[in-house]
Symmetry: C2
Subunit: 421 residues, 2 copies
C-alpha cells in the first residue's frame, strides 16, 4: 500500500492572478501547500522534500490586467498576469482524509500575497479513492428508484412560506401537492427544527399524508426533511425519517460542513439532498473561491445524492453558461460513477425547459418550481401538469407555444409567468 500511495497523486487546477511571473507564483503555491515556511529550517532535508513536495505540473498563461482582482498582493504594480496552473500532491501527504484534502487544495493559499486572485477550478483523485469512499448511495438511479420516476425529470417543489407553518399546515400543503402529482417536496433551508414546527411532529404529520397517498395511488412522493443541525440531532432526525418510511434527508451542506455531512451520508438509508445555500460566497467572484466543478466532486466524495445547480434564467445572479456548466459537471462520471442528481431551481416554471434541454440534453434532473407550481391559475395540479407538458415539448422538439395549443395548463403558465423576465 505504501508503494501505491507514493505513486498516486491528486491533481488540482487553479486559475490564478499574480504580480509575479506565473511560474514563480505557481511554485510558491506548491511550496506553501506542502512544506513552506518563511526561512529554511534545519530538518527540512532534500530527500523528504522531494518525496512530499507538491509539483507544478502545468502552467497555461492567459491574459493580464492592469489592476488586481483582490487587495493585498505584493509587490505593487500594474501588470497582474493570469494563468491556469496544475499542481499535484502525493496521496501519501494526507492519506484518505477529506477535510485534510480540502485544507491542502483550499487552505492558506487564498491568503498568499503572491496572488491577487486564486480560484480552485477542478481536481482529480486517483482510482484508489473509490475503494475508500463509497460516494452517493443513491444518486440518479437510486433517486429514480425511490420515486418511481423514469424517462423524464423529477418534478419537485418547496414548501412556502419558508418559515411559520405548523406541522399540520405543512402536511396540508403536502397532501395538496401529492394530489397534484408532484414527485418531490422539500423543506425550506431556513427551517429545520424550529419551535413552531418541531422536526418529529413535522415528519409524523407529513409522512402520514404521504404514506396514505402511496397506499392509495402507489406513488411514493419523496420529501426532503431538513435535518441540518447539531450532529446528534441530525442522527436522531435521520432515524425519525427512516422510521416513518421517508426516503430523503436534506442538509445545508455549507452550513453543516463536510465531516458531519459525510457522517450523515455514510448511513446510506436515505437519499441526501444537498442544499448549497451560501454557495454565492464561494463562487460569485471570478478569481476567488472554488468553481462548481471542483465543489461538486467534494460533495460526491462525501456521498451527497442530489445537489443544487440553480436553473436557466434563474432569479439569482448566475448566468446560464454557469448553470449549464454545473449541470454538466454533475453528469460527468467521477471515479467511474459517484452519481449525483442535479437539482434545478430558482424562478423555474417550465418556460426554461426547452433551453435547459437544448443545452444539456438530459432529463436526469430534479426540476424544482415553487411559485411556478403553487401560483398556477389552476392550482398546484395545473402547475405540475404544465411543467411536465413543458418538458415533454422540450424533449420532443415542439415549441412551448405550439404545445400550449393542446395543453391548457401550459398555456396558462405561459400567460401568467411568461412575461416575468
Amino acid at each position: 500500500m505504501e508503494r501505491i500511495l507514493t505513486m498516486e497523486r491528486v491533481r488540482a487546477t487553479y486559475r490564478i492572478e499574480t504580480p509575479l511571473d506565473v511560474h514563480a507564483a505557481a511554485e510558491s503555491l506548491a511550496g506553501e501547500q506542502s512544506s513552506g515556511t518563511f526561512v529554511e529550517v534545519p530538518g527540512e532535508d532534500e530527500a523528504l522534500r522531494n518525496r512530499f513536495r507538491a509539483r507544478v505540473e502545468g502552467v497555461t498563461e492567459l491574459d493580464a490586467s492592469e489592476s488586481p482582482a483582490l487587495p493585498g498582493s505584493r509587490p505593487p504594480g500594474t501588470n497582474f498576469r493570469r494563468a491556469d496552473v496544475t499542481i499535484s500532491w502525493s496521496v501519501e501527504n494526507f492519506g484518505y482524509n477529506l477535510p485534510t484534502l480540502v485544507s491542502t487544495l483550499q487552505g492558506n493559499l487564498y491568503e498568499l500575497a503572491q496572488f491577487s486572485g486564486l480560484k480552485l477550478m477542478d481536481f482529480e483523485v486517483p482510482p484508489s479513492f473509490a475503494d475508500r469512499f463509497r460516494g452517493p448511495a443513491f444518486g440518479v438511479v437510486g433517486t429514480r428508484r425511490l420515486t418511481g420516476v423514469e424517462g423524464r425529470p423529477l418534478i419537485g417543489t418547496i414548501i412556502k412560506p419558508s418559515v411559520g407553518l405548523s406541522p399540520e399546515q405543512t402536511a396540508g400543503f403536502v397532501g395538496e401537492l401529492a394530489e397534484a402529482g408532484v414527485d418531490f417536496i422539500k423543506d425550506d433551508e431556513l427551517m429545520a427544527d424550529p419551535p413552531h414546527s418541531p422536526f418529529g411532529e413535522r415528519v409524523s404529520a407529513v409522512m402520514d399524508v404521504l404514506r396514505r397517498h402511496a397506499d392509495r395511488t402507489g406513488k411514493r412522493v419523496m420529501y426532503a426533511f431538513n435535518i441540518s443541525g447539531e450532529l446528534e440531532a441530525m442522527h436522531s432526525h435521520y432515524d425519525m425519517i427512516v422510521k416513518a418510511e421517508g426516503t430523503c434527508a436534506m442538509v445545508s451542506i455549507n452550513s453543516v460542513g463536510l465531516s458531519a455531512v459525510k457522517a450523515v451520508c455514510d448511513r446510506g438509508q436515505l437519499a441526501v439532498h444537498g442544499h448549497r445555500n451560501g454557495w454565492g460566497m464561494l463562487n460569485r467572484h471570478p478569481l476567488l473561491g472554488i468553481d462548481f466543478r471542483a465543489y461538486q466532486k467534494l460533495w460526491r466524495l462525501a456521498g451527497v445524492d442530489q445537489i443544487h445547480v440553480n436553473g436557466i434564467a434563474n432569479k439569482f445572479w448566475e448566468p446560464d453558461d454557469s448553470v449549464v456548466h454545473s449541470i454538466e459537471s454533475c453528469l460527468q462520471p467521477f471515479l467511474d460513477g459517484f452519481s449525483v442528481l442535479p437539482v434545478v431551481s430558482s424562478g423555474q416554471w417550465g418556460g426554461q425547459a426547452p433551453e435547459t434541454w437544448r443545452r444539456t440534453q438530459t432529463v436526469d434532473l430534479l426540476y424544482m418550481a415553487g411559485g411556478g407550481i403553487m401560483a398556477h391559475p389552476d392550482g398546484p395540479a395545473g402547475g405540475v401538469r404544465a411543467l411536465r407538458q413543458a418538458w415533454e415539448a422540450a424533449v420532443t422538439g415542439v415549441s412551448l407555444n405550439e404545445a400550449a395549443r393542446s395543453h391548457p395548463e401550459l398555456a396558462k403558465s405561459i400567460a401568467k409567468f411568461g412575461e416575468k423576465r
Copy 2:
C-alpha cells in the same frame, strides 16, 4: 418559552453594494432570508408573515462606485450604492440551531442579483443563547491553566516540515522544543493522519516525550494534535489524546465544518485549537463573504477555544489593521464570556511584539513562530528566549534595540530576521 422566543431577535449587519435604492435592497434581503419566493403564493398570509418576517432595523448609506464589485447584479448601470444595513430575525424562525442560523445569516443572499457586493460584518444573539450553548470549555483562562503560563503571551511553534516526518522524528523535534522552553506546539494543518505519520503513533511518541518533560520540569507543554478528518476518526483520535494525557486537539474548522467541530468541542476534555485555513476565500474580498468579527462568534458558539488571527506584518496578504481588528474581536466578551484565545502567527519572530502590544494592549495571545524559533542562530532555545525578551521589552515600553543590548538572543533575532521585510 414560546413567548420568550417570539420576543428575542438575532441581529446582523451587512455591508452591501447595490444598483438599487439601498433601502429597497435591504428589504429584498430580509424577504429572501425569511419568506421570499418569486410570486405571491396562497398560504402566505399576513399574520404569519408579520410574525416570521425579517425586519430591516437600520440603513446607513456609505459611498458609491461606478462599477460593481461583483458580476451579475441587475439592473445594469453606473451607480452602485454602498451601505451598512442591519436586519433582525425572531429566534423563533430557527430555534437554537447553529447551521440553520448560518443558513439564515449567510445563505442564498450572496446569490441575489439585487446586490453587487455583500459581506456579513457582525451579528448579535440574545442572552438565551448562553443557556443553550456552552461556548469554549477552556478559552483564555483554561488554556493558561493547562499550560501554567500567566502574565505573558504563550509562546508556540509549528512542527516543520509540514509533511513527511515520522512520529519518531516529530517526537525528536518536540523534545528539543520542550527543552527550548516553548509553551505550545502544533501539527501542521496539512498533516493529520497520513500513512507516514499515523495519528496514534504520533500521539504516543510525542506524549511520551512531553510526559517525561513534565515529570522532570513540572512544565506541561500543550501539543495540538490535528484530528481533522472523518467524524468517527476525530472521536477516536480525541480519545487517544485524552488517554495519553494530552491537552489539546486541533481542527481545520472550515474544512471539517460547523456541526462536526461542535461535536468535538462539546466533549470538553481538551482545548480545541481552531485553525482557520481557507479563511482567505471567505474574507479577502472587501465586499464578499464574512468579516472576522462575525466569523469568530460562530466558532465561539461552537466552542472553539483558540482561533487563528494572523499577525502584525504577516507573510500573507492581510493588513495590520485587519489583524488588530481580529484580535480585538476575540477579546471582546460575547454572551458575557465565551472566551477565545487569539492565535497570532505567520512570519512572526518577536520583532512584531512592540507593535502588537501597542495596538492591542493584551498579552492574552498564543504567539506562534515557526522559522522565528527553529532558525534562530542559537537554535530553538535561543528563538524562544528571544521571543520572550521581545514581549517583555514591548510590555515594559523598552525598544527592542535597547533590550537587545542586555539580551543576546534577541540581538541575534534582530540581526537575522530584522531585515527580512
